[in-house]
Amino acid sequence: MRLRKGLNDRLLRWKMAGGAKEVIAGMVQRGSRNIMVVIGASIIIVMVALAVLAPVLPIADPTPSEVHPEDQTLPPHWFRYFGYNVSKGDGHLFGTDELGRDVFSRVIWGARVSLLVATLAVFFSMVIGVLLGLTAGYFGGWVDYIIAGTIDLFWTFPAFLLALAFAAALGPSLTNVILAISISYWAGFARLMRGQALSVRERLYVEASRALGARNIRIMFTHVLPNCLAPLIVWASVGVADAITIESSLSFLGVGTQPPTPSWGYMLYRGIPYLEEAPWMATFTGLVLLITILGFNLLGDGLRDVLDPRMKGMRR
């Protein structure tokens, strides 16, 4: 009996792994034929590579310890075609900021912060959302009543407003930003998970599994969860885009990442007083920010179209 149980265990584990692998393999295969997925994924790969490789790339120090007055607000070297005097601006692709720091290098180091915060925040909100949504949808009854109510409450409020309230209260720091976004963003994942769990728990294979004596936890994680993998990945991709927007907005308002850590939001904020004098400070930072957000949105939208054509164009 014990032997059979062990075998059954291994088989199940193998099947689950196969299921997850199958889902991801299917996404890659079908996604590679969708132009949005291809463009989105390419942007993400480039951005992640730049962010990861930032310390070894041959770029200037983003936070030099001393300020050289002669380097302040130098235009990008290719601005000479627009009539700028760039005699000293050699080697600065995006120019320099008000403290003489290389904007290009700061944008790349800023990507590290943005992507890290966004990915971790989405990961944590996914964990919260999946656990709560799965529990609510699978068990039903009063458990569902309470959790679903909480989900709806959090879903009602714009995540940004919640994150702003939490970030303001917790005080500005990288960890607090991640925390604030995670607490504010989980409801979407929970809704998704709950809906899926509700529909999957009535399926025959769940019943069969229960008849074989599988415990609830096991059914939840071997049957219900793998079935929701595809929509979860779609949500996560769009979620990272939202989290980047929220993080940069918080930093822009001064409650996010704190200087001297390079962050896109704060760099844009610093760029406003220099719009006339040094427009490159804000414009290029924002452009990279936009492209990154666009990349994750494209990937999410594209994958959704590929996985579930019925959901096409629905987003609110």
């Binding site: 109510g149 709806d152 409450l153 959090f154 009602t156 409020f157 714009p158 940004f160 407003l161 919640l162 702003l164 309230a165 939490f166 303001a168 209260a169 917790l170 005080g171 885009a241 927007t245 940069s248 907005s249 822009f252 308002l253 001064g254 409650v255 939001g265 844009l268 904020y269 760029g271 406003i272 719009l275 006339e276 427009p279 804000a282 414009t283 924002g286 920010l289 936009l290 957000i293 666009l294 949105n297 494209l298 939208d301 164009g313 629905m314 987003r315 609110r316």
Partner: protein, 313 residues
């Protein structure tokens, strides 16, 4: 009609826990704030006895739930507490908010107008030209406009219209009506992308309906089919979500007002955060949350009004 009224009452009752959650989160803010408010009020050499006395006076020694109850009781009377910022010390937060509210409402109203007057025609156009390059370019525009962070869009508009062209004032309110154009455009454009997408899919949906085919087969001119029959039905679901847009605008207003130094609630929040004026932050966030609750309620009611089927659900 009776079912509509009972539906509306049900929805209003359902909004109460949401409002309570908002008050709870806002109350929690003061709790999470690092630093003891009493210690901040007293001079640094205050004795432990003094601190304890003051704590008792302000009720900080009471259990969490009692303090929250008292907070709610004051809230019901419209008392949002007093500002602790240097410029507005001891002024009632409620008054500060009332002072700023009209500016935010003005901004949101014009933003909403811009968003719908771009989104609806563009969505209809895009649906009529489905799968052509015109449709695709509109879709690319919506993708970019949706992804565009509002503060960067604001900066770009500022750069173009205020710095280079010099047509509009760069920030503040000194320019009269001209001052509101840029912030309202910034606020409206992102939402216009959403409206365009919704309008497009709604229009496509309606055009597939049998009664449209029937009208066409009767030989009605295409113009009449589209504008007299299809548009009327397609526009309904787009208009009903106007309430949900308020959520977007509330979040956007905080950022946009900061970019353009527009003296509304959003700027008040940002300034208060930077001045550690938490009672004011609490009050503003609560008011903004009320906007969201009200918007959602409005969307539900409008939807039920337009589509009788949901009343019974």
């Amino acid at each position: 009609m009776a079912d509509l009224i009972s539906y509306v009452i049900r929805k209003i009752l359902l909004a109460i826990p949401v409002i309570l959650l908002a008050t709870f989160i806002v109350f929690l803010m003061l709790y999470l704030t690092p630093g003891d408010p009493i210690v901040n009020i007293l001079p640094p050499h205050a004795s432990a006895d003094d601190i304890a006395k003051l704590r008792e006076k302000y009720g900080f020694d009471e259990p969490f739930i009692v303090q929250y109850g008292k907070f709610l009781a004051r809230l019901v009377q419209g008392d949002l507490g007093q500002s602790v910022s240097r410029q507005t010390l001891n002024l009632a937060v409620g008054d500060l908010i009332l002072q700023r509210l009209p500016k935010t409402l003005e901004l949101m109203a014009i933003g909403l107008g811009i968003s719908y007057s771009i989104g609806i025609p563009l969505g209809v156009y895009s649906a009529l030209k489905q799968n052509t390059w015109k449709d695709r370019s509109v879709m690319v525009f919506t993708l970019v406009a949706y992804a565009m962070p509002s503060f960067w869009l604001g900066i770009l508009l500022m750069l173009l219209f205020a710095v280079y062209l010099g047509w509009l004032p760069i920030e503040g309110t000194v320019g009269g009506f001209n001052s509101i154009i840029l912030p309202a455009m910034t606020l409206g454009l992102g939402n216009a992308a959403l409206t365009t997408r919704m309008m497009r899919s709604s229009m496509l949906e309606v055009q597939r309906q049998d009664y449209i085919t029937q009208l066409r087969s009767r030989g009605l001119p295409e113009r009449e089919v589209i504008f007299k029959h299809a548009l009327k039905n397609a526009i309904l679901p787009v208009i009903t979500v106007i309430g949900l847009d308020i959520g977007w605008f509330v979040a956007g207003a905080v950022v946009v007002e900061t970019v353009f130094s527009w003296p509304g609630l959003g700027l008040l929040v940002t300034n208060s955060i930077n001045n550690y004026d938490f009672p004011t932050v609490q009050g503003c966030i609560l008011v903004l949350a009320m906007f969201v609750v009200f918007g959602n309620l409005m969307a539900d009611i409008l939807y039920a009004f337009a589509d009788p089927r949901v009343r019974l659900g």
